[in-house]
Symmetry: C2
């Protein structure tokens, strides 16, 4: 099968009404694309005389980005693992008081898990953005636009993760947990957005 056909097949699944892959898996994929693009800038920098002074750092960035790319991809599975049981639990009976209480109990646990996975994805995006920033500052100028596209993908990963935390926390009945998750999300998103803005500035300047 040709690469295009596989990509089309994946996008067909994404476009379908089936619960996964959805926005969560797509956000994880965006993070993986961001890593790959930043790694490309590193690949185009190492071994170049002009960038000899930063060779070692860029090599370390490259190895790190390739490792993190795998972690981002593993979040596509994690998203499915927490989302599938949740999409089934929504269909649990809620006629009697007993059924309602039991459903509430199940939902509380599943919603917490379903919010925690994108929160960890957001943490990852925020952390990896430090390396994308380093690559944008030190990498080959010839590939600087790719560092900018890498940051844009990482921003999609982060903002997608935020939406996927919130769609779960907004129906979470455990107020303390809800507040904790939402505050942490907001803080991380602010941090990630600031790094993306900084990268955009560096890219425009170089």
């Amino acid at each position: 099968m040709r690469r295009e056909e596989i990509i089309e097949e994946f996008l067909d699944e994404l476009a379908s009404a089936s619960p996964v892959p959805g926005g969560g898996g797509a956000s994880a994929l965006a993070g993986a694309c961001g890593c790959a693009l930043a790694a490309m800038v590193c690949s185009l920098t190492v071994g170049k005389k002009r960038y000899q002074a930063v060779e070692e750092e860029i090599r370390a960035d490259l190895a790190y980005l390739n490792e993190m790319r795998g972690i981002f991809l593993s979040f596509m599975d994690k998203d499915e693992e927490v989302f599938l049981p949740l999409s089934k639990a929504y269909a649990l009976p809620k006629e009697t008081e007993e059924e309602k209480a039991s459903r509430d109990q199940v939902m509380r646990e599943l919603l917490k898990n379903a919010a925690e996975v994108p929160l960890r994805l957001l943490e990852l995006a925020d952390t990896v953005l430090d390396t994308v920033l380093d690559v944008a500052e030190k990498g080959s100028r010839l590939a600087i636009s790719d560092a900018g596209v890498a940051a844009a993908f990482m921003e999609t990963c982060a903002s997608g993760a935020v939406l996927n935390v919130r769609i779960n926390t907004r129906v979470l009945k455990d107020e303390e947990m809800k507040n904790y998750l939402e505050e942490r999300t907001e803080k991380l998103y602010r941090s990630a957005s600031e790094k993306c803005a900084k990268i955009r500035g560096i890219v425009a300047g170089r």
Copy 2:
């Protein structure tokens, strides 16, 4: 081969030093992902009693988004078609005056082509965002976060396209063409960004 392996293979290619796929192809892929996610919201809306009043519009949006997804993917090839000859032309000799003049002539044409393709991609993203906006307004509330992730992907497509116009126009020696391309790019990007902001507002509100 499993889906994950194919995605990894594609990302390996992206991360490599080979000229394509790069930021241009990845931007086109982001647009295709945006279409697929917005289509998913449509798929989760059609046939639902609660959304009967908008059934016809959402069906039309779904058909349109699936068609446009194919157009976005075709831009991955278009990007390779204009970028490969350009990456070769950079290596043309420029020792004698004659060589310089001939190289300039070739570069001018290739840079114009290489800037026009992402400009058309940007136009497409701006146009398709009208439909994503419609989906965010009328589609199922249960999938509203996916409409938000769709907009984030479309924004990455648009901002990636802008970077890919500029990396070519900044070395274009035809000032009139350069100004025309850059002004049109700025105008379209402003329009696309406004639509994305509007969608974010709708998603947060619903």
